[in-house]
Amino acid sequence: MISIDIEKKLKAYQGQQVLKISGEFATCSITKIYGPSGAGKTTFLKVIAGFVQPEKGNITVEGLTWLDTASKISLPPQKRMAGFVFQDYALFPNMTVLQHLQYATKDAAWIQRLLAIGKLETLATHKPEYLSGGQQQRLAILRALATKPKFLLMDEPFSALDPEMKVELINELKLIFNELGTTVFIVSHNPQELEGLAEHEMNIH
């Protein structure tokens, strides 16, 4: 079980607003998160990953406290090891596709499987600047999966994929999430694209 109860001030054009989110989520579940721009969807994911500190809150993941502002507990991102797919991909310009995955894991068989899922085997020696937007986005997803995370946070992960590739990848991801027992939060502007993948939903407004 994952329990989240946070309060985080957001800077907005009209002044400050407070992002308040509270809820319990079953492990191995997939939740889609949607809402208007600027509502704090990305900030919510970054709070969970440990990149951003909220003013108040608790996050407990399978009995382990990741965050408790009252007791001044906040595990660093390295200890939380939540997989993260960034909206801007955040690929490392100095690394090839293969090096991205090797940086994350030493498991060669797993790397080969990920490359096959992302259809990037033939591009293994390419750096991000020589990949298309869709290929970069797939690499970002594969890198986040490379550590076999128990918690995966995805920020608009399918926005650059063509419909065919999206359906194929989503089917593969479903299998992997199931196999790894991964709990997944997916932020999307287009909740319909996640039909059949996410069983739960959360509206942030």
Binding site: K46, A90, F92
Partner: protein, 223 residues
């Protein structure tokens, strides 16, 4: 022509560049992360040599490290180290004087990298050190090269600071820029010209190599 001033200059520039690289990488990384009044003051102090007359900096260093009083006296009595009129003093002065040339480009480059690069590395369980070595540093290579060459070239051309703290002692503190001045004072224009030409040539090759290298790297998505 005595080539010792040239070797001494190259030795000074090499040691200064290596020391400044070691000092500037962690300092630039620290300065590039967020703002605080302490960081602003630190950066202002480091930037001061860019605008201060070199003789002013040299004068204060001379006072600070004079073996007659203060810190200089303490250093001499405790560690038997004398900075004034010694090669060590030249290195110290050059490190302070050239620091903005090393620190500036590295700090700017680190600031321009998207914060999500570090975050992505942390989410893979990598430490700050691993992230710095494998993600940040390789992605600021052009700026790193610029900083190294600028620092080396700037140290080659130092005159005021070096003269104030080191004087003009042959084989110890008589670097090429001082040898040029000395030769002109003695009306020995041909020697002055020879030293100047060597300095000009070295600096030109260094600067042009940076331009050539960075031109080939312009396709990088970060530039």
């Amino acid at each position: 022509m005595d080539l010792n001033p040239i070797w001494l200059t190259l030795k000074l520039a090499g040691i200064t560049t290596v020391l400044l690289l070691a000092i500037s990488l962690p300092v630039a990384w620290w300065l590039s992360k967020g703002r605080s009044i302490f960081k602003v003051i630190t950066e202002a102090i480091i930037t001061m040599p860019l605008v201060l007359p070199p003789s002013v900096l040299g004068f204060y260093l001379l006072l600070a490290f004079s073996p007659q009083h203060g810190m200089g006296k303490w250093l001499q009595q405790t560690f038997d180290v004398q900075f004034v009129f010694s090669f060590k003093g030249l290195v110290l002065a050059s490190v302070i004087y050239s620091m903005p040339f090393m620190l500036g480009p590295i700090k700017s480059a680190l600031q321009q990298l998207p914060v999500s690069l570090s975050q992505a590395s942390y989410s893979l369980g990598k430490t700050k050190w691993q992230t710095f070595m494998h993600v940040l540093l390789p992605n600021i290579k052009p700026s790193l090269l610029t900083a190294i060459v600028l620092t080396f070239a700037h140290t080659l051309g130092e005159f005021g600071v070096v003269l104030m703290i080191g004087g003009n002692i042959p084989n110890v503190t008589r670097v090429a820029s001082i040898a040029v001045y000395d030769s002109v004072e003695q009306m020995d224009y041909s020697t002055a010209n020879a030293y100047s030409l060597i300095l000009f040539g070295i600096t030109f090759i260094l600067v042009i190599s940076v331009f050539v290298f960075n031109k080939y790297r312009l396709k990088s998505p970060l530039e």
